[in-house]
């Protein structure tokens, strides 16, 4: 029976460490890294309606985000992250871009597309066109032309009626791209622009019209760009610092708390691993401050072990047997740990609902790290310690860092 418990203890330790060792490489490789760690750039756009008075709707914001993602995809960017935020913001995260400058210019390219009559009057603008409705087609002689769709066929009919046989020039900002002449009244909302275009020219014009069909105007409000090698360096340095810190913490715990310190070390490794699993499952993005919070989290998680072990030491000193000291110590310390952690979680929940973006990410990390630490550093730690003590492997107070001379008689 006694030996069985010890074997059970060893089994749990081996299984836990085995799981950690086997899955960690996979986890580490598949956790999404922030831009500050892998390089790339991030732009926060603020969207405004091109024409005043139109509100930015959720739908138009999403459409714009989709269009941006498509544009990034067209430039062969792997996994562009484009997320609408709040009521009028779009965050774009792009990694592994060779020519950031060019891509940024493409994304940023003013989508202020206008169709102007001969007198310079703006007849239509980009938002009149169906998104991604423009494409290159070929006529019977295999000459490229641009086919486009408008949203409001009547409006287009009206414009083409008025400007029949007159040029309807296409402007991007104040640059005239092309000035096709209206050849017939178009009533079905599908038009074609023909001319002596090469395929590339036609493609470019079609792309620009699609781009102009973006319903919102984007302004860069925030940009951050990190070189890939610099991100890699930050990652290496910070992870190394974290590993060294963890080893020092483990050594400190084993030196100070002896046997329970060893248990604490096992639970700390389990804690770190479980938190990585949570990050992985939630598709959370690990950033540089995130790693820092992780390392500090280890220090804070170990607090649960410290509170429990100090309490157990006190109980041993008061003359209790090791087993009853463990029971009393665990019970008394649990209330302390729960009260302290619930208070912290409460603060984090409030921050989560009050804050946005980075604050929410921070609050979530805090909540998860506390929940995980209760699982590993309270529950797992107690279970392992109970098994050890019940197996009679840990009978001497010295194993707990308590001197015989400190023990009072009951």
């Amino acid at each position: 029976m006694v030996a069985k418990r010890f074997i059970a203890f060893l089994l749990i330790v081996v299984v836990t460490l085995g799981a950690v060792g086997l899955t960690s490489p996979y986890l580490v490789q598949h956790i999404r890294l922030g831009l500050d760690l892998k390089g790339g750039f991030e732009i926060l756009y603020v969207a405004e309606p091109i024409e005043g008075g139109q509100p930015v709707t959720k739908e138009s914001l999403r459409q714009t985000a989709d269009a941006l993602a498509q544009r990034a995809n067209a430039q062969k960017v792997a996994e562009p992250e484009v997320t609408p935020e709040g009521t009028n913001r779009i965050r774009v995260r792009l990694a592994g871009v060779a020519d950031q400058q060019q891509l940024r210019d493409i994304l940023k390219k003013p989508a202020d597309l206008t169709f102007r009559g001969p007198d310079g009057k703006i007849e239509m603008n980009g938002s009149d066109f169906v998104q991604n409705g423009a494409k290159v087609a070929f006529d019977q002689y295999n000459r490229p032309y641009i086919e486009l769709k408008v949203k409001d066929a009547n409006k287009f009919k009206d414009v083409t009626t008025r400007l029949l046989n007159k040029p309807l020039a296409i402007y991007l900002d104040d640059n005239q791209l092309s000035a096709p002449v209206v050849q017939n009244v178009i009533s079905d909302g599908v038009a074609s622009i023909t001319g002596n275009y090469t395929y590339d020219e036609a493609k470019k014009l079609a792309d620009t019209i699609n781009l102009g069909a973006l319903p919102l105007k984007l302004t860069e409000k925030y940009t951050q760009s990190v070189g890939a090698s610099l991100g890699q360096l930050s990652l290496e340095q910070t992870v190394r610092a974290g590993v060294i810190a963890s080893i020092l913490i483990l050594l400190f715990m084993m030196f100070f708390y002896r046997l329970p310190g060893v248990v604490a070390s096992i639970t700390l490794i389990a804690y770190t691993w479980l938190l990585l699993v949570v990050f992985y499952l939630l598709h959370a993005t690990l950033t540089l401050p995130g790693i820092a919070a992780f390392v500090l989290g280890i220090g804070m998680a170990v607090d649960a072990n410290i509170i429990t072990y100090e309490r157990i030491k006190e109980e041993i000193r008061s003359g209790k047997s090791i087993l009853s000291a463990l029971k009393a110590g665990s019970k008394n310390s649990l209330r302390t740990i729960m009260d302290a952690n619930i208070t912290t979680v409460l603060a984090a929940i409030v921050l989560y609902f009050m804050g946005s973006g980075a604050i929410q990410g921070f609050a979530l990390t805090l909540i998860f790290s506390i929940v995980v630490s209760i699982v590993t550093n309270v529950w797992l730690s107690r279970w392992l310690l109970t098994l050890l003590i019940r197996s009679n492997a840990a009978k001497k107070p010295a194993y707990f860092g308590v001197k015989e001379s400190e023990i009072h008689a009951l």
């Binding site: 750039f41 926060l44 603020v46 400058q101 210019d105 860069e220 409000k221 925030y222 940009t223 951050q224 760009s225 070189g227 890939a228 610099l230 930050s234 340095q237 910070t238 190394r240 610092a241 974290g242 060294i244 810190a245 400190f252 100070f256 540089l288 401050p289 820092a292 919070a293 390392v295 500090l296 280890i298 220090g299 804070m300 170990v302 607090d303 509170i307 100090e310 008394n332 209330r335 302390t336 009260d339 302290a340 952690n341 619930i342 208070t343 912290t344 409460l346 603060a347 984090a348 409030v350 921050l351 009050m354 804050g355 946005s356 973006g357 980075a358 604050i359 921070f362 609050a363 805090l366």
Partner: protein
């Protein structure tokens, strides 16, 4: 008694109050003038962080910026081998302008040149900071309610004062030493608040526990009880601060350049958090609690 020969925290609490108030007052003064040294997140402009892959001479770097046509308002050389140039521009650089600067550096230091660029609309950072402040205030209210239910309102008030104290000490120290304040600083302050409340509650929990079995007749009894409780939890307080400081210091010394200030804020805040839990929070509670003893005594004497 084991605790008789130890340092009397309660008796000396006035000194700690004065120390904390002093730092806070100096902090407030420097906050008013010259104010926090705001980084790029809170001040319009661009920061360029260039890693050259080899040691960079400051004069040479300044010359390169000059040649590119964009002299920065400040240049700092950092990194382990002095290979990192941080330049701050008061105006927002366009991406073409950044490219120009980088090209200059590439021609001088080769293709290993890598860079980090930050351009920020300050409104967003300010909004985030504003939300954080409101968040902390409302969270404090939540803490007060929870701790009042689980403990009593005096503990709640003392814990929240300790928490705000820690946040403010870090802000003060950053203000006094003119350290740059950016968004990660905000995260550091929030983490410190989380640590501070956790640390304080553990000591309060011990006071609460000791109160249950204590017969408190005089204010001195109460003082003894506070001293005893703080000392009973002292090993835990010290060991916990050691483990979290190991983490923060490793990040500060060995971590990447970009989180150095973040780690420094952490180190300051963690020390302040441990300090305030021991030397500020419990004596504050005592200060509020002692009047109840006097009343009881007076009531007893009147009988």
């Amino acid at each position: 008694m084991r605790y008789n020969f130890k340092f009397d925290i309660v008796k000396n609490s006035r000194k700690f109050f004065i120390l904390s108030i002093l730092i806070t007052v100096v902090g407030i003064v420097t906050l008013i003038y010259p104010g926090l040294h705001l980084g790029v997140d809170f001040k319009a402009g661009t920061t360029l962080d260039i890693s050259a892959g080899q040691a960079v001479d400051k004069a040479k770097a300044a010359q390169l910026f000059e040649e590119a046509g964009f002299p920065p308002s400040s240049i700092t050389i950092g990194g382990n081998q002095g290979d990192r140039v941080t330049a701050r521009f008061d105006k927002e650089l366009q991406s073409a302008e950044v490219a120009k600067v980088i090209d200059k550096f590439k021609s001088a230091y080769g293709d290993k040149v890598s860079y980090e660029e930050n351009t920020v609309d300050t409104e967003l950072a300010k909004e985030l900071a504003r939300k954080a402040v409101y968040g902390v205030l409302i969270a404090s209210l939540g803490i007060i309610i929870y701790v009042s239910i689980r403990f009593e309102w005096r503990f709640a008030i003392a814990a929240v004062i300790a928490l705000l104290h820690d946040a403010f000490i870090v802000i003060s120290l950053f203000s006094i030493f003119r350290l740059e304040v950016n968004l990660p600083f905000l995260a550091a302050v929030l983490t410190i608040i989380g640590y501070s409340i956790n640390d304080t509650i553990v000591i309060f929990d011990r006071i609460r526990e000791n109160m249950r079995f204590a017969r408190l007749k005089t204010v001195d009894d109460l003082k003894d009880l506070v001293n005893k409780s703080v000392w009973q939890t002292m090993t835990r307080s010290i060991n916990t601060i050691i483990t979290v400081l190991i983490g923060a210091l490793c990040l500060f010394v060995l971590g990447s350049e970009s989180i150095r200030l973040f780690s420094l804020a952490m180190v300051m805040g963690l020390i302040s958090g441990a300090y305030s839990s021991i030397f500020i929070a419990s004596p504050l509670w005592l200060l509020m609690k002692r009047s109840t003893i006097g009343k009881k005594k007076a009531a007893a004497a009147a009988k």
